[in-house]
């Protein structure tokens, strides 16, 4: 008996390793038609893990104080060993993570995977998307650059369109009337201590729900394929690993060749509350709601419509209770989906170039 086998044996006696592997990895079947789009959830988990790890490294050097944050970050970029790499991974990764979440959302929607009995999976997923956006919002301020400062001013002003509560929410977020050092500390606390446990718990719940109900078979499959699907390990995990590698390759492509994609010139200027730069826009993922709010003349109506859309989005599986999972056989739903998608993209572009 080799040493390796002995270790396995030892563990097996204590935690039932073989059984765990057999039931959860090899024995767990995935529908045979599950392609790369089914791995996006897995990629999202890895993306979040990358954010966590690079975030820990940044945390070692970062100083959450309005007087030091910006220059401290420049030290990370210039002096800390490979600080630039971790910072760039964190910045590029945050944007890519949101992109992956959006793609995941689309593919789940498109395959009707949110239908009974998977409503809660959708709900937890939707909440996680919101939490990811909160991560982005709070993280955006931390470099304390002109870009951070003014983009945060814009985004935190959005709730003021809401009556009674809106101003309170804005005030709660900012801590002071305008974005200030107090806001920085709040967002820092949110970013590193308050949000992570929520997101991780939701993630656990999400995965638990998926394991309970199993991965939903595709509504589009033509032939029966391999009966009972194929095992999670190694087939599906390898697919996931492949996508993770693609994700990382894209991330490093952006870091190498488009380093200013997410860090425009204003990201290089320390925050100055008295100087309003001309072309500040919120992050791309907030552009559509931002532009929509700008377009609707009655702000009040605007924010209500947005909240309503958010509610519809989160509770969608409870609203759409039709059995039919193949979206191709539901032209109306398909139409609405494509329309929403086009509108979103148009609003984003409009927001960017107006």
């Amino acid at each position: 008996m080799t040493l390796w086998q002995r270790i396995i044996r030892w563990l097996d006696e204590r935690i039932g390793l073989t059984e765990l592997v057999d039931t959860h990895l090899k024995g767990y079947r995935v529908p045979s038609e599950a392609g790369v789009f089914y791995t996006l959830g897995m990629v999202a988990v890895v993306a979040y893990a990358i954010q966590a790890v690079t975030g820990f490294v940044l945390l070692i050097y970062y100083i959450p104080h309005a007087d030091y944050a910006f220059h401290g970050l420049q030290e990370i970029m210039r002096k800390a060993p490979f600080g630039w790499l971790f910072r760039m991974m964190h910045v590029v990764g945050s944007n890519m993570m949101v992109a992956v979440l959006f793609l995941h959302l689309f593919s789940v929607f498109f395959t009707g995977s949110y239908k009974k009995p998977r409503e809660l999976t959708w709900l937890t997923g939707g909440l996680m998307l919101l939490f990811a956006l909160l991560f982005c919002l709070s993280g955006y301020l931390l470099p304390w650059s002109q870009l951070s400062y003014w983009a945060t001013t814009i985004v935190t002003a959005m709730p003021t369109a809401f009556p009674y509560l809106g101003e309170y929410v804005t005030r709660l977020l900012r801590g002071t009337e305008h974005v200030s050092g107090v806001t920085l500390n709040r967002f820092f606390a949110l970013h590193v201590a308050i949000l992570p446990p929520f997101l991780v718990s939701l993630m656990g719940l999400h995965v638990f729900l998926i394991r309970r109900t199993g991965i939903s078979p595709s509504p589009f499959r033509r032939s029966e394929g391999q009966a009972g699907g194929y095992p999670l390990y190694p087939h599906f995990l390898l697919k996931g690993l492949f996508m993770v590698m693609v994700y990382l390759a894209v991330m490093f492509f952006i870091i190498s060749f488009m380093p200013t994609l997410f860090l425009p010139a204003e990201a290089n200027v320390p925050a100055d509350p008295y100087k309003t730069p001309a072309h500040i826009k919120p992050g791309w993922y907030f552009l559509a709601p931002y532009q929509m709010l700008k377009l609707i003349p009655n702000k009040f109506l605007g924010i209500f419509i947005e909240l309503l859309l958010l509610g519809v989005f989160l509770l969608w599986p409870f609203l759409d209770t039709k059995e039919e999972r193949n979206i191709m056989r539901r032209p109306l739903l398909l139409g609405v989906f494509l329309l929403t998608l086009t509108l979103w993209i148009l609003l984003t572009l409009w927001g960017k170039y107006s």
Binding site: F162, F242, S256
Partner: protein, 282 residues
């Protein structure tokens, strides 16, 4: 669920009735400069661009808006004094209004802020000639007053400098300045490139600013041999800045290569994993 939606819809339709909450929002969100408007203007500019202004003064504000001072937020009242907030009293001497400086008073007028230059200028042949009998050029002769742009040795030209004496003197000055000026120009360009590639260059920018301010102040002595004597000193200072820029550039190149290498690693691993998963599929 549908009833909740219906309720929400009713709420939306009735919400415009509560629209006075919009005020804060519009102040914070729509009327802020980032929503399109520009920085607020002083009453001086407002009145001086309006219809009541005499035609020969109207160009003043327009010229100023194209100037380097405008970009650095030096406004009318910073030079002329006066109160930029109170239209009725804005040009009252009690509020510190200085009026238009006379020909010989201009150096002190500008020298409030450009202290070192004023000192050198007053000690120079030009300054002495001005004070002695209006024969020397003042700041406005060479720089203009409202449309002042960034300074360069292009100001030294045949048309301007041969008005009072032969161009020979001016020319030898220009030659003495040339080397260092060229270097400053190159460094400025390099810094701009670095900034465009996402590097924070403020430290270098400040060092450069200090050096060129000192060097250009030196010009105002119009003492050619002094400029020549100190050229080496300035070249050395600029070399230090240049070196730091080069270090940063090569660091940037290293970073690009390094992360491109990692990118290739992951791309390679993606291919390997793909092939591996193919063997399992079969």
């Amino acid at each position: 669920m549908r009833y909740i939606l219906l309720l929400a819809a009713i709420h939306i339709l009735s919400s415009p009735a509560l629209a006075d909450f919009r005020e804060v929002f519009e102040r914070e969100f729509l009327l802020k400069p980032w929503a399109g408007a520009e920085v607020e203007e002083s009453v001086c500019v407002e009145c001086h661009t309006s219809e009541i202004m005499k035609p020969e003064y109207r160009h003043v504000a327009e010229e100023w808006k194209l100037s380097w001072h405008y970009q650095n937020r030096v406004s009318c009242h910073d030079c002329h004094g006066g109160d930029p907030e109170d239209a009725a009293m804005s040009m009252s001497p009690q509020r510190g209004f200085l009026g238009t400086p006379g020909y010989t008073a201009v150096p002190e007028f500008c020298g409030k802020c450009h202290v070192g230059i004023l000192r050198n200028y007053l000690e120079s042949g030009h300054g002495k000639a001005l004070k002695a009998g209006k024969r020397g050029p003042n700041c406005v002769t060479c720089h203009g007053s409202h449309g002042i742009s960034k300074a360069s040795i292009e100001i030294i030209n045949d048309r301007l400098c041969s008005r009072c004496h032969s161009y020979e003197r001016a020319k030898s000055m220009k030659q003495a300045l040339f080397l260092v000026e060229k270097k400053i120009e190159n460094i400025e360009k390099d810094l701009e490139d670095l900034r465009a590639s996402g590097v924070y260059t403020e430290d270098e920018r400040k060092a450069l600013f200090r050096t060129h301010a000192e060097f250009r102040a030196l010009f105002h002595t119009i003492d050619v041999s002094l400029v020549k004597n100190r050229t080496d000193e300035f070249t050395k200072k600029l070399d230090v800045i240049q070196e730091r820029i080069e270090e940063t550039s090569s660091e940037l190149a290293f970073r690009r290569n390094f992360s491109a290498f990692i990118m290739l690693l992951f791309a390679g691993m993606a291919v390997v994993v793909f092939l591996l998963s193919k063997t399992y599929m079969d």
